[in-house]
Structures are given as structure tokens and as C-alpha cells.
Amino acid sequence: MKKWCIAMGCVLCLCAVIFWCGRIYSVNAAHTSEMVTYDVGETVDLEGIEIKCVEAHIFSVDEYKKNFNVGSVDVLYPNDKLLCACINVKNTGDTALGWSDVIDGMCQGFQSVTWGSAADPFATQSVNVFTSDDLAPGADQDIWFTTMLSNIAFSRHTWEHLDEEEFYFVPVLEPVQIQMKLDVQK
């Protein structure tokens, strides 16, 4: 009787495990990838605006100051770097778009396979010059976005080989995440 009970228990456990394996398969089969990757130079259509990366750089603090002619930069450590991307935005709709809506709708941050950081729209406030209150239909504008690359967020090996890393600009997170590969100029 005891052996029979043990055998039955084992059979029941096995059935439960097989059932759960089936469930694991179905849960993962129903799930689809939620990320679309665009290659360097490709244009991304975001319902009403088209965006395209014009250029991207990794600057040291001094290089950043010199390049953008700014007085101070907000970094954690003096040897931190800044990842900058110039994005061309074009209004493909038939109504003018306010700059806040444009920027909110097209910039979530930057990421690589092992790192991610939100873009800081205020950091490039003095760099970006807007000549009108909104983006008129058919008009386009280059906008710089930047984020800090702090050395404490990277392993020593990655930090020393940052130029070998692949960085992406992420304009949208939901419902499908979009990432645009950056051609970071050395």
C-alpha cells in the first residue's frame, strides 16, 4: 500500500510538471518581442513626426564645453563623458506641434546592451536654438540630446573600450520599444 501511494504521488508530480512545462511553452509562445531596432541612418516614423540621427559623439567634459560653447557641465566625476546625438525631426502631419510635445514624444534615453540612461533635455537647453514656438507642418529641426556616461556605471574594460560599444537612441518605450543605432564618431 505504501509503495502504491508513493508511486501514485510520483505519477501525479510528473503529470503536474509536464502540465507546467506545457504552460511555460504557451506563455512564452504567446509573447512577442517588444523591440524594433533601426540601423544607422534609417528614418523612424513616429505618427506625425519623422526622426533621423544626423550625428552622434562621445565627448569628454572639456570637448563638450568646447564643442557646444557652454560654461559648465553637470557630471559626477571629472573624467565622466557625455553621449550626444543630433536628431533631425520633421513634422509630417498637417498641424503644428509644440516643442514640448515633440521632445516628449521622441526621446526616452540612450542604451547599450548592458547600460541605459535617460536623456536630460535640460542639459542641451542652451545648445538647441528654436526660432519658432512650434514645429510647423513640413518643417524640420535638428535637436541635440545628451546623457552622462559615468565611469562608475561601467566595468574598467568597457570604459577603456567605449568606442567599441554599440549605443542606441531610444525615442519610444511603449507599446513597442524603438531603438536607433548610433554611429558614434570617434
Binding site: 506563455v27 509573447h31 548592458t114 520599444q177
Partner: protein, 263 residues
Amino acid sequence: MKIYGFEMGRAFRNAWFVASVAMGTAIGIADCMLCVRQYRNIGEKALIQTWLGTDYQFAYNSLFYVLLPLIACLPYAGSCFTDMKSGYERNICVKTSRLSYMAAKAVSVAASGAASVAIPLLVNLFVCAGLYPNKLPDKLSFLYAGIIDCDMFPRLFALHPVGYCLVFTLLDAVFGGLLGLVAMCVARWSGSRFSTIMGPFALYVFTGVIFEGDGTGTWSAMDMVNPLQNVVVYRYQMVTMYVGVCIIPLLLIYMWHRRRDIL
């Protein structure tokens, strides 16, 4: 070799092993149930967010990793003390050498400790895998464990989350086994089975708090074995800790038992 099988049998066929695994599994299931209650929509969450090791939302991760030494030592680590006090080891040592007995004891203590840590983590992973899809972690939504480039195994976490879970399960299991060896050492100076089991726990919590560090590198084992990696751990620190926790107890056990008069 017979002594190894005999000690393994004692280690795995006892109520304390079942109780220890049940305790760990209960923590994992409670975490899973809380996740299901909070997030009924399966699409909202990912497996790597809900696995006990990388779930930072609820207290169960901390509970499991604080209790890890108890879970590891409860099954069989205390037997070193009880065998000594009850005179059981004398009966064993008339049939086999003292060294073989201690080696078999060490292996079975380590194996039972490793298994009692690994089983709850694997069961939890298996249960969660049937509830939530194995989505890749999204770094910019900040809803996942913050494993980035400076942490250990960031690429594995980003590209193969289940692999990350399995690697940390293995590391935790090895650490559980080593804690069993520490308990065997403690048995030399402890006055009861309870203190033999509680010794590694006290050491783990005490050093865990003391050596937490300043966020850039830590010597706290409690932080090292937690897959959440709340504090940056350098690989050399982890290797040093594992080698140290392995060699020191083995050395002490050998030195103590080499001349001890069992018979």
C-alpha cells in the same frame, strides 16, 4: 566509498532537509503569490522581475538571502556536533578511517547545504516561468533589477535572463555548501546543535553589515550572493570570498580532526 553513500543518505533522508527545502520554497511561493495578486495581467511583468532572486519589489528576496545560512545549515550541518556528543562517530570510526569519515561528512554537509539552497530557487524559477514570459529586461523603464555594466554578468542578464538566474542559483548553491563547512568548524567550539547551526548565520549577518562598503566594491558575502547586486561586487572579491570560505574551514576541520581522539 561506502561511507560516502551512507553519509549522503543520512544527509538527504532526514526531516530537517525536508523542512529546510520547504521553508525556502514557501518563501519563493509566497513571493510568487504576491506577484500574481499584484499583477494579474501576465503581459505586465517578466520572469526576471518575478523570480525570487531578482524581485526587488517585495521583502521575500531579503528574507530568503538573510535566512540563507539557516536554510543551508539546517539539514545536516548540526550532525557533526550531535554525532560527536552522542558517540555515534565512534561506531562509524571502528569501521572506517577518521579521515574518510570526516571527508564524507564534509561532502554530505556541503551537498545538503547546496541542494537546500538551490531547490527553492529552481522551484520558484519553474513556477514563475509558467506565469510570466521570459522577456528581456528593459533598461530605460527602470522596473527591473538594476544590473548594468559595472555589475557581474550584465550581458547574461540583458540577453539571457534565465541563464543569469541559473548562474546565480549555482553560485548560491556553492555558497550554501561552503556555509555547511563553516558550521562544521563552528561545531568544534559550540555547545549545542543550535549554536552550530546559528554560528554561520551570525557570522554571515555580522560580516554582511560590517563589510557592506561604500557602493563601489564590497566584501559582504550577504550582498555578493544576492542576484539583485544592490552593491557593486568585483569578480576578484567574489572569487577571493569563495576561495577563503572554502579553504579556511577545510583547513580548520583538518587540523582539528587530525589529532582528535574519537575512539
